[in-house]
Symmetry: C2
Subunit: 287 residues, 2 copies
């Protein structure tokens, strides 16, 4: 059988250990560069729309990025009593900022992404996630989030850690207990927090470690989960944390019912159901 | 770089449309045959233990098959008031039968798998799932389930449809409304039912169709979901149905608390939480 032009062009993503992974057909390469921090690629696929990868790992797929972004954002946003000031660390594609800005109460969103090129590439090639980049409420900062956050004390209502996968060793500065402590300090007394904390299958040690480190800093900490096909193995976890507010007891389903923007994954039932953890996941985090 | 022996041996599983998929490294081929119905392969992998495939699609992975099998089984089993007689259609690897037999009330389990060779291969190569094949309460039948079930009227307490993916057109006999009607007829008045109903991403049309067909037959029908990394995209759905019992209102968490066998995924919170559906999933099934 003769291949049609481009039929042999595939993207292969290897899971940790390099003994499994996923592949997609590529219709067209859109962009490829090595920045000071990482390699960026953007390509068009027949099945997932545009795909944005960092160091060969999928960060964003046009067709289903809404799931990850809604889940990291709306769980803390609907628990915060009146979220006005929000800090996003990482999140360079803009999807989390887009979700935060769906809340009318928000007055100021600071997004601190270390790699300026990620934001520039998102602006050019990922219009769906970067659509709020020109919103006057949003301030884009290209700095090291762990240093940047230290200037704030009891300032933010919501902090969201939308980082890439942890690296070897300490897992990168955004997975250290010191960094989580800085987040705690930067939140006001009613502040709430969420962070991506990997998955219980192929990154289970990282999920355990990041959950435990967050628990060491915050009084109230709860892991939650979602169906995220863009990240192998299709399951993802985040950790909610706060200085006092409880993600279930302090949840008001009416606020979701009366929300005036479109949501495709998150709803009031999901808000509660996503905290139901499988037994093997509870065992990993000792809950 | 010189490859070590076998390093270039990989299994590639293509999703519908053939523009994406997953791959695993293979340590060792254990078995391969073409039966009257399908191609069977069993191989050993470094990451997932033994993997069992039918026509190139993963059916069972040793390390995480427990999730699918617990979820298809215990949701209906814990709703049935006193499950004594259970019918499994399909389920040739034996994992569902193993879960059913964890319930002490069970007196008779009939497993009707069309392909005798699947059961024989499972007995030889998948000891973890087929471990109850010699249990005197279990009767293994190698027949067409859609014909077999017609001899029963108001007989079973629980019926579980553990089928392979639907085929083109009607989706195979185990996805027709006529077949679901036979299930209804074979259940007693307090009978409960579960069926695998694919996923809302790559098989979303099949999920919708099978859910709708089950709804057309049963009074009470509810879709539920789980994290199932062995099936791309890592999300799976099943549909609970009954002649009257409700999977949430008639659920008694104490029964789960007092259960005397090990469960690794299913628990009382999951029983409730798995019925919380993302908005886009509700939209697919018009709920």
């Amino acid at each position: 059988m003769k291949l049609k032009p481009g039929e042999h062009i595939w993207f292969n993503e290897y899971n940790p250990g390099n003994t499994s992974g996923v592949f997609y057909k590529i219709n067209k390469f859109l962009h490829s560069e090595q920045t000071k921090y990482q390699r960026i690629d953007v390509f068009e696929t027949p099945e997932f729309g545009r795909v944005f990868t960092l160091d060969g790992l999928t960060m964003t797929r046009e067709v289903d990025e809404f799931i990850y972004h809604e889940m990291i954002t709306h769980i803390p946003m609907f628990i915060s009593k009146n979220p006005k000031k929000v800090l996003i660390i990482g999140g360079g594609d803009g999807g989390t900022a887009r979700e935060v800005l769906k809340h009318d109460s928000v007055e100021e969103v600071i997004m601190c992404e270390i790699d300026e090129r990620v934001m520039e590439v998102a602006r050019e090639y990922l219009p769906t996630t970067s659509k709020e980049f020109d919103n006057p409420k949003l301030k884009l900062i290209a700095e090291d989030g762990a240093k940047f956050i230290k200037q704030y004390k009891k300032y933010f209502d919501v902090i969201i850690i939308d980082s890439t996968d942890p690296t070897e060793g300490e897992g990168g500065i955004l997975f250290t207990e010191e960094f989580y402590q800085s987040c705690y300090d930067a939140l006001n007394d009613e502040g709430v927090f969420s962070a991506e904390t990997e998955d219980p299958f192929i990154h289970k040690d990282w999920m355990k470690l990041s959950y435990n480190r967050i628990s060491n800093v915050f009084k109230n900490t709860k892991l939650y989960m979602g169906f995220v096909p863009q990240y192998p193995p299709g399951t993802w976890s985040w950790t909610f944390a706060s200085k006092g507010l409880d993600p279930i007891k302090d949840f008001d389903p009416l606020k979701v019912k009366n929300f005036n923007k479109e949501l495709k994954y998150y709803n009031a039932e999901i808000h509660v159901g996503c905290f139901s953890l499988p037994t093997f996941v509870k065992d990993i985090i000792n809950k």
